[in-house]
Every structure is written in structure tokens, then in C-alpha cells.
Symmetry: D2
Subunit: 261 residues, 4 copies
């Protein structure tokens, strides 16, 4: 029966318009990612998978993206994502293929004084992009940290406003950089790390550490930029920080890319 | 032509199951709301309109909700929303009708020292609910404020963590209470109001005021509860506060309702 | 040092106002849930953990919620969630404790004709609520399905509009009901299930099945209600369906609860 | 007093790192935009305002963005947004300034048969970008439409799956193009427009029109591309369509830009 069903997508198209990014998105799938401590970690990915479509095809075959993902079911890493992208490019007869997966990644953290351990969720993403063989791999992380405002501290007789801030770091590298290392770079560049579990002596420590190390979002991205610039494994980066200002109901942002340096 | 089209929704249903909340939601429509200073304010509403459906109807007529909304196009207030709900109840032959509209509302605020003025967006909602004639009206507001942590201030040698906090207040009343008054109640109950525009001397003022008035989310909702309890216009309330903790990547919450007192 | 830090939360409060739902929310944590096929499944939970706070306490101890969650790290099920809630109630000296965890759950599905297998993500949640020993457990699922409009089919000479619809089902039970069973109830009540992976012969099957079984959201929730009402394991339920109408940019909804029958 | 408060942001910075996009975001402000029919329309904008910051400044002055916005309070259009961007660039001594505002815009539409009128909300955005005098202006719209699947229609004996689809169009132009015109381009390229209010004879019309004009997302963006390519006012465009597939719980996407032609 199915042998007689017409392949409508493969009909010729005479409008002469090639397409970018034809495919699927908002697809949730279970994934296993690499974990520096535990080897692997189970989490949930949200996928966007696309190809650039030559002008003579009417449509792409959306089911083949899912089939390719099924074939790579399980591990999703800097080794397997480029394979998936290469497979998409070949399977769909495309000049270029792209894959992006976003997922929460959990890091085990010890509180600074009590040592009490808990998990902190880090939003991460992998991007694969292939115009030819060997897809380019990009790693992204969004690290929640704490920032105290240098202006507020300087001009006020007591106190200083602080807030939760998210640092987004995207990198490409010639040698593996762990998610955990980017988290450490972001935390070292902020007023203080933040934690899921803090006992009273930890809260005192974090409060004072944050007060003692005020940074603007501008300082924060520059601090991270210096660390990434000096890391020989990293070949490209883009850094953005966004703070949920406690004195405003809007956010403050700043960014810097490796091309700017 | 259309006179021959069957009214499928009016077919009898023999499963014997009455429905709750049959209708439409996520409908954006322009609205004009009352403004204490400027008489009226143009904004954008997101509507949910439903009726409880008797067991003998197969379906409700979704287009009639939009027609009713069109008929009440323009002003949306404690006078017109109950009229809309009553109209829905009658028009759809229902025992009960409900309407909820969420909208951003802008308040003009002066910075505490410089007096520089700017707009602050407050998320608001109206709810109308009618089982019989004369729908009950509920007003809700979500006020962004600043909270400094009393524990952090007490135990630390310097500084105190603070953050943006949202106070949600729902009330029913026998005499008009303005959105602006609920905003004032929330701000008076927090460590400090927050502002869209602050100059340097304002930032100093807000920092010190917040540091001098630390409150937990538990304190914050109790402070608002005392104000609402003592206001004779208000017949029912529910208060909730949620703080975007700057030392954590999760939030702290507390709530209290008039039934609890 | 930490032994001298004052416990500010335990200070007495003289406003005489008891609180509801004091605690934490928006906390992401890895969880392992029961899986009918594979015994267990790793996923990501988003937790809300709260207690009702007696009037004489100034605040609750937010860190204890995380400690309790850490103690129950790993499995999250109808056996362990009530234990967590009971522990919160005792540990925080509260009259009542609540826990809610939302998580994506993956079900392995075979396409209807080709049998090609893929994963479908189902949004689920567990709620635990304890006023005394033995917390009450509620299971919730949101099942994506396909609905074809009976009115559109009846009045049109060809075609019928259809769309993606989400069915939310909450139940309490005296004997275990699997997530997979609720998914089957929802799919059997819709025009057709939907799938992550469909080959051409599957797409033909789904299109025709959906066209042959038109349902309004009102029909859909009534169909599910009949199935749940006749299941002796289930002691309480609430059902809601919301369709992303393809002819509108707003949604259609309907609901029914076991109390209505 | 305030005259003695140090301007911390103006401190020199010796890290030698220039910044991109330093500023504010997620700021809601009331705006008035141009309306082809009614001259003007009141709506709610969400602003992102940033500058590229030279390497020698420690930070930018976040309050000046709000002051600039206040000065341009009221009308937000292709005339005033570039003025705002130019003012930001000068006021903040920056090499480059950017502004983006997103807002819902309401279009009055008549149903295709009954002529019943109602409002349809269109998500729109303006972008201004200035490296030198005279900022470049970009207009974006997201138009909700209906698409019927050509493959499903061809291979099925009856019916065809359809769904709500969003078409995002960004353009730059040498002569004014109205939001309403882009909406018309998107609707003419889809299987059918969608409407807020449809009576029974309208629903029949829309169902049949959509069934008679099946398009993939790939067809949809190509159809729009042909219209924009042939419009001499338009100097640059990017088009993206995303359909909420009714047979899947994920979306299908396709895109095309003027550079590809």
C-alpha cells in the first residue's frame, strides 16, 4: 500500500528559491551527556534539526530528522552530535545541516563553609553545523551567579543592591573544555557563586563575599573574556551577562565576543 | 446558504456529563481600563471566557464569546466586566459564566530623591464570575518590589543579600479600591519600592532604605495582610510573594488568605 | 563561628497571622520516576515545596526543604513523595505540607502502520499534600493529541479543520494507575493520537482516523470522564482539554471534574 | 549631597576589552505606533536598548537609556526609533547603538462570508541600529495563518491534517511598507488566513479554502519570498515559518533570506 503513496516532498519546484533551515524544532527527547565526575548524565534535550534545501526540491522529509535522532538515541556529545549533523546532510541530500540541543545539566556543588552538597541546574546547549564533512561544534552554558553593584556600594552609606545574574558563554575549541570549567570561569568572574543549599554560616560567607567583590555586568563579561582569551584550547567565544536588577523591574545586559578583542 | 448549515454544537448529548469552563482562552484584545490619574488607559488584554455547560448540550458556541467581547469592546472595568459575564451566561444559556482578563497597567512614578518620572508596568487581572445575576468581581495585581533578607543582614559583618520580589494581591471589595492603592500597600510592606528610572542619589536612597528595612517573604505577605485586614472596603483577599533569591537559583514563596485570619 | 549566628527565622512573630504555602519553588532537580516498561526513567523535576506556617514563627527555614529533597534524592514516586511531604511537615513543625514536582516523561510509541518507534514527551506532575500522617497523592498528565472539528466536517463540502490539543488529567486513586494508562485514555478519547515519527503510510492512517472521529474539546473531556468514572481504582479526577484551534489564533477549552457527575 | 556621589561607571578600565550590547532589556513601556486605518494605535512595547562600549569605560549609564526613552515617550515609529538610537549613540558616547521594541499590534478583520469584524493580534517588532548618523530601520511581523499539508491531502482518501502556523517576516525598505501589507503577503501565501471571529458560513469557507490550497512551510516561505522579491520598496528580507504540526508534538520550520536569491 505505502509503495503507491506519492512522495510529494520530492516533487520538483520551479520557483528557483533555495531554503535555509528547513526541518523540525521544539522536539523533546531523552539524552545522555558526558559528565566530568560521573562519566555520563541522563537529561532531557530540546532539539532543532534543519538542513539548507536546494532550490529544486519542493520540501524536505521531516520524518528523516526523527529517524536520524533515533539512530543516535542515547549519547549526545561533541563526538556524536557532529555525526548526527553529517548524517542529516547526507540523508537529506543537503548542502548544509544544523543541529541544536538545549538541556539542563546538573552539577554537584558543596556549600562554601558547611560543605553541604546539592545539585545546581545549568542550562546548556550544543550546536553542530556542517557545510562539508566534519561539523563544527559549539558549546553553550548559562550559569546563574550573584552580582553586587559597584556603584550602589560606593555611593551608599550601608548595604549595596545585589541580584541573580545569568552568564551565557558560547565557545568553540580545539581541545575538550568541560561544562564544569565554564561554570567555574563564570563563578570566578562574578561577585559570588550561588548555591542550591546554604546553611547559616554559608549564607554569611556568600553575603560577605558578594559584598566584597562588586561587579557590573560589564565587568563580569570582561572578567570571563580575559579567562577565555588566555585559554589556548578555546578558538572562539561569545559571552553575555544579564542581571535581574533588584532596584528595577528590567534587566541589565552586556556582551563581548572574541572577534572584538 | 448558511441557513442550511447544521448547528452541530446544539445536538443533544446523552452522556449525562455537565461541563465546567467550556469556552476560549489566550485571546488577545485591546482594552481600555480605568486609571486613577488619567481617567482611562489603553492596554492589551489576554482573555479567558467560559461557561458551565448543561449536560444536554453537545458543545458551546465559541464564536459567541468573541461576539460578546466585541459588543463590550473598549472599556474593561469593574462595571463592564460583570456585564460581559452576565451577557455570556444568558447568551449561552449557561448556569454559570466566568471571565478573566490579564493586562499590563502602567503607573507613573517619581524617583524618591531626584523626582525623575518614569512608567512602571504592573501585571493586573480582573475576574468576573456569575452563577446568578450580578457577577462577583475580583481584582488582582502583581507588584515588583525589592526585599533585603533579615537573616543575611543579621548574621553578616557587612552587606545583606537582596533581590527582586513579586507580590501578588487578589481582592474583592464593597467599595472601589484602585490598582494604585494595592501597589502602595505592596511597596509599603517591602524593603523598598523599585523604580524604572533612578539617578545616582536615588540609587543611594533605595539601597539604604532596603538595607534598613529587611523583610522575608513571610514578613512581606503578613505586612500586606495587616493593611488589607484593616481596610473596610475589602471583603476578601489572597496574598502571595515570590522572591528571586539572589543567593539561589530558585525562588522563595509565602502566601496568606483572608480565610486564615 | 556558625554556632553564634542567630536563627532569625525562629524569632517570635506577634502579628498573629498564620501563613499558607511558605517555602521554595522553581527548583530544578534530577529525579528517577517509575516506568511501566523499563522499571525506572531518569528525568528532570521542577519542585515546589511548602508548609503552612503557624502564626508564632517569623519565618520558615528554606534550606531544610532542600535538605529534605537531598535526603530523598533519586526515586520520586507515589511511595517516596508522600514520605518527603511527611518529613517536611515534621522537620518544619508545620500543620500541613505540600510538594509538587513537574517533569517530562517519555513514552515509547510505535507508529500505527509502519511500527516505527520513537519517544513522545508527556508533561507530568505529582502532588503530595499532608495535613496529618499519610499524605494524599495526586497524579497529573498532559497528553498531546489531535482533534478534528465535528462542526467544520459537517458543514464543509471537503476537508475539516484539525489541530494539536492538550488533555490535562489529574487523578487520585486507591490502586496504582500508570501514566501510560492515562495517556491511553486521552488518546482513545481524541480524534487520533499524535506521534513523533510517522512514515508516509502512517500519515495517511492518522489523517483518515482523525477525519473519521471528529470531537470537540467538550466531547474529548466527556469521553475521558466516562473512562475514568468507570475505573474503580480512581477516587477523584479533574479533566481539561485545550485545543490550539487552527482557524483561530486563540484556544478552545473545556473541563469536567468528578464532583460534577 | 548627590553632587559628591562618585560616577563609578566612568572610571577608566584597563583590561582593554570593548563591549557589545551593553544596556537594558525586558523593559515594558507604553507606546503609540502608526496604524494604516486609524492613524495611530496604543499598545505595549518591550524594549531592549544597548550601545557598544569603548574599551576605556568601566560601565555604561543604564539610567540614560530610560531617560532617552522617556524623552521619546509616545510615538514609536520608523521616524522616531532611529532618532532614539541616534540619541543613545551620542548621549552615551558610543560607536554604535541599537534598539529593539516588540509589541502586539491589532488589525481589524472582516470574516470572509458574514463580514463579521473582530481584532487579530499580530506580534511585531522594530529594530534600529546605528553605527553612524541615520540608523537603519528593520520591521518585523509574526502573522498567524492556517496551513494544510499537501502530502497528507495527496496520500489520504479523505481529510488532510492542518494546523496553526506562524510566519515571521523581517524587512528593510526604501519606501514605507505597512504592517498590514506584510500580513496580507503572509495570508496570501498560506492555505488560508485565520480569524478571531468566524460564524458558521465563514468556518465552512475557511475549511474549504484551506483544503483547496495546501502548502508546506517550505512553500509558504517561498510564496512570501516571491512577493517580497518583486516589491521594489523592499531592500532586504528574512522569512521564517513555523507550523504547530497537528500530527506531531513538535513543529516544522523553514526559512529564506534575500541573500539566498
Amino acid at each position: 500500500m505505502s509503495s503507491t503513496l506519492e512522495d510529494v516532498q520530492s516533487r520538483p519546484d520551479d520557483r528557483g528559491i533555495p531554503l535555509r533551515h528547513a526541518g523540525i524544532c521544539e522536539l523533546k527527547y531523552p539524552v545522555v551527556v558526558w559528565d566530568r565526575e560521573k562519566k555520563t548524565q541522563h537529561t532531557v534535550g530540546t532539539f532543532k534539526l534543519t538542513v539548507d534545501l536546494p532550490r529544486h526540491y519542493k520540501g524536505t522529509h521531516m520524518s528523516r530528522f526523527v529517524t536520524a535522532l533515533e539512530n543516535h538515541r542515547g549519547e549526545c556529545s561533541l563526538e556524536t552530535l557532529p555525526e548526527l549533523v553529517d548524517e542529516l546532510r547526507e540523508r537529506l541530500d543537503a548542502e548544509r545541516a544544523h543541529a541544536r540541543v538545549d538541556f539542563p545539566y546538573f552539577i554537584r556543588k558543596a556549600a562554601p563553609v558547611s560543605g553541604a552538597v546539592s545539585d545546581l541546574a545549568i542550562r546548556c546547549w550544543f550546536v553542530g553545523d556542517a557545510a562539508e564533512k566534519d561539523a563544527e561544534f559549539t558549546l553553550g552554558v548559562e550559569v546563574p551567579v550573584m552580582t553586587t553593584c559597584p556603584c550602589s556600594k560606593t555611593i551608599s552609606d550601608r548595604g549595596a543592591h545585589c541580584q541573580r545574574t545569568h552568564v551565557r558563554i558560547c565557545i568553540r575549541f580545539r581541545e575538550l573544555v568541560w561544562i564544569e570549567e565554564l561554570v567555574e570561569f563564570a563563578e570566578a568572574s562574578a561577585s559570588s557563586p550561588l548555591y542550591t543549599l546554604l546553611k547559616r554560616n554559608d549564607e554569611k560567607h556568600v553575603t560577605e563575599q558578594s559584598y566584597d567583590n562588586p561587579v557590573f555586568v560589564e565587568d563580569l563579561v570582561r572578567n570571563v573574556a580575559v579567562l577565555l582569551r588566555d585559554d589556548e584550547r578555546i578558538t572562539w567565544f561569545y559571552i553575555e551577562a544579564e542581571s535581574q536588577e533588584s532596584i528595577h523591574n528590567h534587566n541589565a545586559i552586556a556582551a563581548v565576543g572574541s572577534e572584538d578583542l
